[in-house]
Symmetry: C2
Subunit: 127 residues, 2 copies
């Protein structure tokens, strides 16, 4: 048996998934209306991706007033962690510390961000 590698959502899937996370639940129409400016894909294309997301277990659906409502079956936080593990494995040798180091090096973090992160770390170091 082939070890099924943990696949992340694809670009477009994630894009739509984020909209559902943000709205809490949404119809195809609503997802479509919440696409960013200039991003236009047809109603049916959006419907298709949502149904794929349902197939993959990321979304559920239920009958709403007149149309289906899609809602997340996985928490955004969980997916975030999963994505970070994936990146950590694939690019940072499984070492999350290296990831943070790279982020600190390659990104402009505000003093506020830095201070907040430090506070969180200290809370963890001194329980």
């Amino acid at each position: 048996m082939q070890k099924k590698r943990e696949r992340l959502l694809t670009e477009t899937e994630l894009e739509l998934m984020c909209i559902v996370w943000r709205l809490g639940q949404a119809t195809v129409r609503e997802v479509r209306e919440n696409l960013p400016e200039g991003r236009d894909i047809t109603y049916t294309s959006v419907a298709k991706i949502l149904s794929i997301l349902e197939e993959k277990g990321a979304l559920g659906s239920k009958k709403g007033e007149k149309t289906y409502l899609y809602y997340p079956r996985i928490a955004k936080e969980d997916y975030e962690s999963r994505a970070l593990r994936h990146v950590t494995q694939g690019l940072f040798d499984g070492n999350p510390g290296s990831l943070v180091m790279r982020l600190l090096d390659g990104t402009d973090l505000s003093r506020e961000d830095l201070a907040e992160i430090r506070k969180t770390i200290e809370a963890r170091l001194d329980p």
Copy 2:
């Protein structure tokens, strides 16, 4: 014209790219030999992906003793930053602080990791 979104390397491309980064430079054969246990793809498949990576500008190649040597044209560090920006944008609302928070929440970081990260942050806060 369609705004070309910044595409990251695909899974397999990244997998091979990491091997070249690790080895510094490598022949097709060497890359193949450095695949993880149980991952077998044919010589020609590896060669194909490497040539795609060259096409995309991620690798260069030169004549070695008897066979081509591939070497990185982009630094791993740069790619890491790029990947993190991509994740930050796509999943954390453009906010790198949120990313770190999620990593701290969703991952078991060792005390050493935490301490090291804190040190880096403090160095940045008090220059």
